[in-house]
């Protein structure tokens, strides 16, 4: 059964994948910085990272339009220096996904890092091992189960992003039409069947993600205790 054009699904997967890749590296760097260093304005920066969790999506969308719009400061820079546009493109959708899923991932990574006993890192330091190698071979592998759970949640959140995406990426069928947008506009046009089709697809993705994360948490909670 293939009643509808599946391009919204592929677009959503692409947008969420690319946003999750960036979220992965940025949240690792941020969580590392925030858990190890004390500096002026730290709690302010942390609040800024977490803000999208509590802000309405329209505020995020508004902020992104102001920054990345054709006449926005970052929009002008990106267009003149790199020749690409953010508004009304899938890149805009990816940026919206990035902003809303970063705080989820950041919290997961922070919690995962905190579970790693600092004595493992300290014992490695006394052995003369560099910080970067300690991070790669001790901290990261031991935090991996929490990081992976965060990745899945960030990915699912990225796929589900709607409000900010509609504002920054707009609705161009086949170009910026992600699954949530397809649901909204099919409903607006009174096409309940098409809405339902996409609702079922995205709900099963969400259920699968949450089920898996719960399973993974239970499984890894038993195995990685202290020694």
């Amino acid at each position: 059964m293939m009643p509808y054009d599946l391009s919204p699904l592929w677009l959503s997967l692409r947008v969420a994948t690319i946003s999750t890749i960036f979220v992965f590296f940025v949240s690792l760097a941020l969580a590392r910085l925030m858990s190890r260093r004390e500096f002026f304005g730290k709690s302010f920066i942390e609040a800024l990272i977490l803000l999208p969790l509590v802000l309405p999506p329209t505020v995020i969308g508004f902020g992104l339009i102001v920054l990345f719009g054709v006449n926005g400061p970052l929009g002008i820079v990106l267009e003149q220096w790199f020749g690409f546009r953010v508004v009304f493109t899938w890149i805009g959708a990816a940026i919206a996904s990035f902003v809303v899923s970063l705080p989820l991932m950041y919290q997961s990574v922070l919690a995962a890092f905190e579970k790693v006993d600092p004595r493992w890192e300290n014992v490695a330091r006394t052995m003369g091992v560099s910080e970067w190698r300690i991070f790669r071979t001790i901290t990261f592998p031991l935090a991996w189960s929490g990081i992976l759970a965060g990745l899945i949640l960030a990915f699912a959140r990225g796929i589900g992003e709607f409000g900010a995406t509609l504002m920054i990426a707009g609705y161009i069928p086949g170009v910026t039409e992600t699954v949530p947008l397809a649901i909204y506009f099919a409903y607006e046009a009174g096409d309940m069947e098409k809405s339902l089709f996409w609702v079922l697809i995205i709900s099963s993705l969400g259920v699968a993600a949450i089920t898996w994360v719960n399973y993974w948490r239970r499984k890894t909670a038993v195995r990685i205790g202290r020694e």
Partner: protein, 212 residues
């Protein structure tokens, strides 16, 4: 030669230490919470004193004039109280963690033989017993050929037979390696059996006790 003379404010009292140690074994005794582990951590560089100085063989670890020497540069072997073996690495990977590839590992091979852990090399920490963990952790702390060895309650998790054996091995290793060793213990008997000097710490204040 280890020279230690520093002060550090703890939650309820100030830790004040002053001692020198040559290539000998020093035992730190005292009730728990008296600052013994903090002293080891200051030597290793995990925490820093408020004021004073620490130096080993002429290298300043800490003094009031400059930034403390990084942990990585101190060449300290440190055996943590519950060993802190890396849970995701095998015994062999734990021991060789900081040993560069293509280095001569004959001294490590010898250690594994002395300590009787050759058969454990492929196992993970959760698959071996407490006494075995202790010997693996000891081997690991010696693998990078440290200039000083710090041991925090090294015998507390061992039964009597294992304790005797480990203590004898430690003495043998000390004779062979000729480096200063400091171990923390709450059992005065262990201290009297092994140490050349015994320091008692109570609420941060230090007194020397006679040996035997």
């Amino acid at each position: 030669m280890l020279q230690v003379d520093f002060q550090k404010q703890l939650e309820h009292f100030s830790l004040e230490t002053k001692f020198e140690l040559d290539k000998e074994i020093l035992a730190l005794v005292g009730s728990s919470g008296s600052g013994k582990t903090t002293l080891l951590n200051c030597l290793a560089g995990i925490v820093h004193p408020d004021t004073g100085q620490i130096s080993l063989n002429g290298t300043d670890f800490f003094n009031d004039q400059q930034k403390p020497l990084k942990i990585q540069k101190r060449k300290v072997g440190y055996l943590f109280q519950d060993y802190a073996l890396f849970p995701h690495l095998t015994v062999e990977q734990n021991i060789l963690y900081a040993v560069p590839r293509k280095t001569d590992v004959s001294h490590i091979t010898e250690l594994t033989k002395i300590l009787g852990i050759t058969s454990l090399l492929g196992k993970y920490p959760h698959q071996i017993s407490g006494g075995e963990k202790q010997r693996v952790a000891l081997t690991r702390s010696l693998a990078a050929q440290p200039d000083i060895l710090l041991l925090d309650e090294p015998f507390s998790a061992l039964d009597d037979a294992n304790r005797d054996r480990c203590q004898n091995e430690l003495v043998r290793i000390h004779q062979q390696w000729q480096i200063p060793m400091i171990f923390v213990t709450h059992r005065i008997a262990d201290a009297e059996k092994l140490a050349d000097h015994i320091l008692r710490i109570e609420k941060g204040q230090m007194t020397e006790e006679p040996v035997r």
